[in-house]
């Protein structure tokens, strides 16, 4: 009788589609995947230990480097944690600015993440470059307000570092004129493409129960059909003032995650519209002037605050001993938790599917390895 032999392949750490330095030790039988062992830590930068050495403010730029696509969201989550810990009030206007930045981050993250996923699928970067175009536009505006495109370091305790001005508002409105065209193009390009359907439907299915068991969050969880979004479940900032919906999938496959991300971009667009509308009425300045940024001391205690990052639930846990820096500092990184489901999601599919499933989880190694 014919017998097939298992083959062990290392996909990564240097591989075009592992999204950074990530290694998958794959055992295949023919093209079918029998076992997958994710190996990571190549990008470990001792982030959590650094956070215990640095003062609270000093740690802010380091959070930029976690999920370097969404430094604005990382800043927001970290600032929220320290604000909870130290009991700092955040003015309304600052909250609105933070929300605008978060939603812009969400759009740019999903645009590029979907582009990379389609690139893994073999669509020759067209979707990716269209996404990059929108991302560049958004990054230009981040640069305008924060001074840097990716490592924004924008939030401060009790607000943000610089107010947004009329130029920003007009440019944002211009940008939002173009965004729906981009969404339409993107959907038209690939949403119903027969090849994409063949590659994405019923691939990498993560059933609802298992998604909860793995405690995955973000679009991966919503793609599996669990309507869980921190912006709704525990409204932070001013998210309770906006009307938006949470898209959920039904099957939990790659296609569902893809659809959920596109729908989320459209919802973010709606939030942006409302935020721009409500922004002029917001009270307070862009920052709470009473807060001593550099010498902020938090009372002894602990705090955990989370935000809905584009990749999932991003939470920071900080224990304070009353001094100017954290006693214990822990990051709940969505990429890392979502990645833990990868091995089981890939089992039984082919090598070609593995890279697509990895792409659909949307990881950033900076956040996984920390």
């Amino acid at each position: 009788m014919l017998k097939t032999e298992e083959l062990q392949i290392n996909i990564g750490p240097q591989h075009p589609s592992t999204h950074g330095v990530f290694r998958m030790l794959v055992t295949v039988d023919g093209e079918t995947l029998v076992d997958l062992k994710p190996v990571f830590g190549y990008l470990h930068r001792n982030h959590e230990q650094l956070g215990e050495v640095n003062t609270y403010l000093q740690n802010m730029p380091f959070t930029d480097r976690l999920d370097y696509f969404n430094s604005m969201v990382n800043n927001h989550a970290y600032a929220r944690t320290i604000e909870t810990l130290a009991g700092v009030e955040v003015p309304e206007r600052a909250q609105y600015i933070r929300v605008i930045m978060d939603e812009l981050s969400r759009i740019l993250n999903h645009a590029t993440a979907m582009g990379f996923m389609l690139g893994d699928m073999g669509a020759w970067q067209t979707a990716l470059l269209w996404g990059m175009r929108e991302r560049e536009k958004i990054l230009d505006m981040f640069e305008y307000v924060s001074g840097a495109r990716m490592m924004c370091n924008y939030c401060r305790f009790g607000g943000v570092v610089r107010d947004i001005d009329d130029w920003f508002i007009t440019e944002l409105k211009k940008l939002m004129q173009g965004l729906p065209h981009y969404f339409d193009d993107f959907e038209g390009l690939l949403l119903n493409s027969e090849i994409l359907l063949a590659r994405a439907r019923n691939i990498g299915v993560l059933p609802k129960e298992l998604a909860l068991a793995y405690s995955v969050t973000g679009p991966v969880l919503r793609g599996s059909g669990v309507a869980y979004d921190i912006r709704k479940a525990e409204p932070y900032a001013v998210y309770d003032r906006f009307k938006f919906k949470v898209p959920v999938g039904t099957v939990g496959d790659v296609y569902d995650r893809f659809l959920v991300r596109i729908a989320e971009m459209r919802e973010s667009y709606k939030i942006l519209e409302q935020a721009l509308e409500q922004l002029p009425d917001a009270t307070g300045g862009f920052i709470n002037p009473k807060v001593k940024q550099q010498s902020l001391k938090a009372p002894a205690g602990e705090a955990y605050a989370r935000v809905e990052s584009p990749k999932g639930e991003l939470g920071f846990y900080v224990v304070s001993d009353g001094s100017g820096s954290a006693y214990r500092y822990k990051v709940r990184a969505p990429s890392f938790i979502n990645l833990s489901a990868l091995a089981d999601m890939c089992k039984g599919y082919t090598i070609a599917d593995v890279v697509v499933i990895l792409g659909s989880i949307d990881i950033v190694m900076g956040e996984v390895d920390r």
């Binding site: 403010l57 730029p61 230009d140 001074g147 490592m151 130029w167 940008l175 119903n192 669990v226 999938g249």
Partner: protein, 331 residues
Amino acid sequence: MTLSHLATEDVFVVERNDADFRAGQGMTKGLGIVFRKFRKALFGKPNSDRADTEGQFNVQYPEERLAMPEAYRNMPILLYDDATGHELCTSCFQCERICPPQVIHITQAKDPATGKPVPAAAKFVLEYDTCMSCGYCAEVCPFDAIKMDHDFELSTANHPELDVDYNRLLRPVSYYETIAPTMWSDVKEQAMKKLQNNIKRRPGDIGRDHGQKIKGGAPVAAAATPAAGAAPAAAAKPRGPVAAIGKNMPEDKTAKLLAIRAANAAKRGGGAADAAPVAQAAPVVEAVADAPAAVSAAPTGPVAAIGQNMSEDKRAKLEAIRAAKRAERGE
């Protein structure tokens, strides 16, 4: 099973269209969109308006440059006053303390007579290679002495060069004014007032002995005391874009030679008469500080010339863009 306590109107299920009949219509639509893009990009004109989603969006980098927003932060620089040549830094160590990667190293200046500390820095070293451009130093500086530069073309083959010292960190206030006019005008008065207070407490040339050049072209220290004879040589060190470093060794050498000669002449007592050649030698690399003077005085060196033209161009362009932007904002 849903975990959420979300109201049902807050949730919607994405449409999968699984039951549709597929005959390649989705692919055809995609091809049509891509072809439309091709047509628009080929026949349309390049654009960079944020509302556009069609056309070409490239910026042809070395020739075309995007306007830098004022808030843009790359690497920290130190400012000095154009008129007096006094550095704004008072070595208060605020930046050294806040710097997250701890790359700022300051030594406070001391009065040679009394040995007491003086509000000025004797040494200021910044490790550009490890700097994470967070901008905290500029944020915390109470004297507005340290600011974030817009120059990002810093690549070099010589790594140790990236430990940048005082001479190469210094920029005149007028330079910062060109790159960030509104941000400077917000703090200008207060900064200048503080500077005046500090100047009073600085004996001799402390606070302006790092080779900075005041208006008129001559380095401050060269005309002052023979003891500061090394200053022109230091001034000859490029302090414009770091990229220029290492490319103009010959200029460096001639500058040094001229500086030594000038120092000798100063010793002989004819300092004022020989100030001109010194001025000639020094500004070779003074592209940023005082472009017109430098151009007129530049001995040679194609590299240096290119550098000067570039930065001059850049400045002009920058100013034009600024003006346009200001007009756009209705000022």
